[in-house]
């Protein structure tokens, strides 16, 4: 199986020791630099550290065309702590948020950085008339752009294919939105928390059938940050470090309309890579809690199956049985996910990893899942239905 022929001997174990974020809102007054700075301060204070304790910086942010600045990584650098420090900016579309801790992992595991401040930021509200206009430029400029596609087309095409192959109904899928927006009622940064019903989803504005307004996560401004550290530093800083046991990332081919959209094989490849490193053989049994990427409600089901937490086409049935609820067998998006907390793209993936950080330390408060938790997985997704980024965490 494709994956890392890694010599399992990994020099330095790596832990997350702090996490923080800003509010997620449709429009925040703060500049992109302010947002990166606010999230960084929250994460540093939660780890009991200051900026001078940080060796290296990893920034994650999606299209420059949202915040409205070319080489956005350089603009966000010092807001993320990068005064006179090594900084790189990670960009794999929607997969960026989880790719950030993956890149931070090798910064530490290589032995070159003892501590890393990893920041995800997105400010979509600068783009007028509507941030969605930016998605007109993600396509092949010669073969696809002339057709005037908008982003929701490609999600709708994928959702329709998943519904067809798995015989899943819009009612089945709407339950994800109901679950995540309910979970988000307990998240202090949430933008789109709500108590809704499947009926509300099915009555919301139809954008690109089968996708309706309440099937989608909102457009957001926001930032989230993590502090990662080597084992020696982590044990000094906290008595409950959360270990990054596995990393995985994969890109499928660019010609998205040359493959079956019913199943995210790229996510399975990335998950296998991370599980192999973490020594996990039966994820559907060994994983206690998960944050599968949910920019759209059907995507959470799609990714639960790609993460091998359920067999193909089985997620909708388990969802209906409450299997993925906070009180369920394998809680998913207990924090509220992108659908509930919000979707400032790169910060959204970091928010999901931060949620697992709090869950595994039993610090999620009202959001804490009922069952004991020890092993967790988060993924982000992006590009043209083609990026899978995965981290496996454990205590």
């Amino acid at each position: 199986m494709v994956g890392v022929k890694s010599n399992i001997f990994v020099k330095d174990k790596v832990a997350i020791v702090g996490a923080g974020l800003t509010l997620f809102r449709r429009r925040l007054l703060e500049t992109p630099r302010d947002l990166a700075w606010e999230a960084s301060r929250e994460a540093l204070s939660s780890a009991g550290l200051t900026l001078k304790d940080i060796d290296c910086i990893v920034v994650g942010s999606a299209p420059d065309a949202f915040d409205g600045i070319h080489m956005k990584g350089e603009y966000l650098a010092d807001g993320s702590g990068g005064f006179n420090k090594p900084v790189v900016r990670v960009f794999v579309g929607g997969g960026t948020g989880v790719m950030v801790p993956v890149v931070a992992w090798w910064h530490v595991a290589s032995g070159l950085c003892k501590t890393v401040l990893a920041v995800g930021e997105e400010k979509m509200s600068h783009a007028y008339p509507h941030p969605q206009g930016v998605f007109a430029y993600i396509w092949d400029p010669i073969l696809e752009r002339p057709l005037g596609p908008n982003l929701i087309w490609i999600f709708a095409l994928e959702m329709r294919r998943y519904m067809h192959v798995c015989n899943a109904s819009k009612e089945d899928i709407a339950l994800v939105s109901v679950k995540n927006k309910r979970n988000a009622l307990d998240h202090p940064a949430a933008q789109a928390a709500a108590k809704i019903t499947v009926d509300d989803v099915l009555k919301s504005e139809v954008l690109v059938w089968p996708v309706q307004l309440l099937d989608i996560s909102p457009v957001s401004d926001g930032a989230a940050a993590l502090v990662l550290a080597s084992e020696s530093v982590a044990r000094r800083v906290t008595d409950t470090p959360v270990w990054v046991e596995g990393i995985g990332f994969t890109l499928d081919n660019t010609h998205w309309y040359n493959r079956d959209l019913a199943y995210p094989r790229y996510l399975e490849y990335a998950a296998r890579m991370a599980y192999k490193m973490a020594g996990i053989e039966r994820p559907w049994r060994e994983i206690d809690v998960a944050e599968p990427y949910d920019p759209f409600d059907y995507k959470e089901l799609h990714h639960i199956e790609g993460l091998m937490l359920a067999r193909r086409c089985e997620a909708p049935k388990l969802l209906k049985e409450g299997y993925f609820d906070r009180s369920g067998e394998l809680p998913t998006s207990p924090g509220g996910g992108l659908l509930g907390v919000g979707n400032p793209i790169a910060a959204a993936g970091v928010m999901k990893v931060a949620e697992l950080f709090w869950q595994l330390r039993y610090e999620a408060g009202a959001r804490q899942v009922k069952k004991p938790v020890h092993k967790a997985v988060a993924n982000a997704w992006g590009d043209l239905m083609q990026a899978g980024t995965v981290v496996v965490l454990s205590t």
Binding site: T31, R33, W37, G68, F83, H126
Partner: protein
Amino acid sequence: MSLWKKSRVSDVVHVEGRMETERYIYTPGPVGVKVAEALMEGRIMGVKCGNKLYIPAKTYCPDHSEGELVEVKGPWIVKSYTIIYEDMYGAKLDKPVVIALVGTEEAHGGLIHYVEVEPDKVKVGLKVEPVFRPKEERRGLITDVMFFKPVEHS
């Protein structure tokens, strides 16, 4: 590598295209609003980080602490300068433009702005002062200062 290449220029197509969001409206941020309000009243702000003054004012200091907004009264001097004669396409400007980093003796950094002076008169250390737009034309942007001009020796 493609096994075989056509190389007549007419064989290869180029497709025109743009990547232009219609318009951007940048939020100033909480500190940015304070700095903008000061500019509306003809005051240029710096930020005190510990005992060092940084120009211009920004939300946070290099150590990520929140600095203290402080008005910079001058005296303003040219700390470095350049003169633009052409743009990147090689088009000559009808009049050379003097751009300078304008700051104070002890402050770190400075404002990047225009200096209204003949190119052969500009030098590092030149004493200058800001010339503000009329109050009703100001919008809280750095362009509320139209340019700096040399201080006439009284």
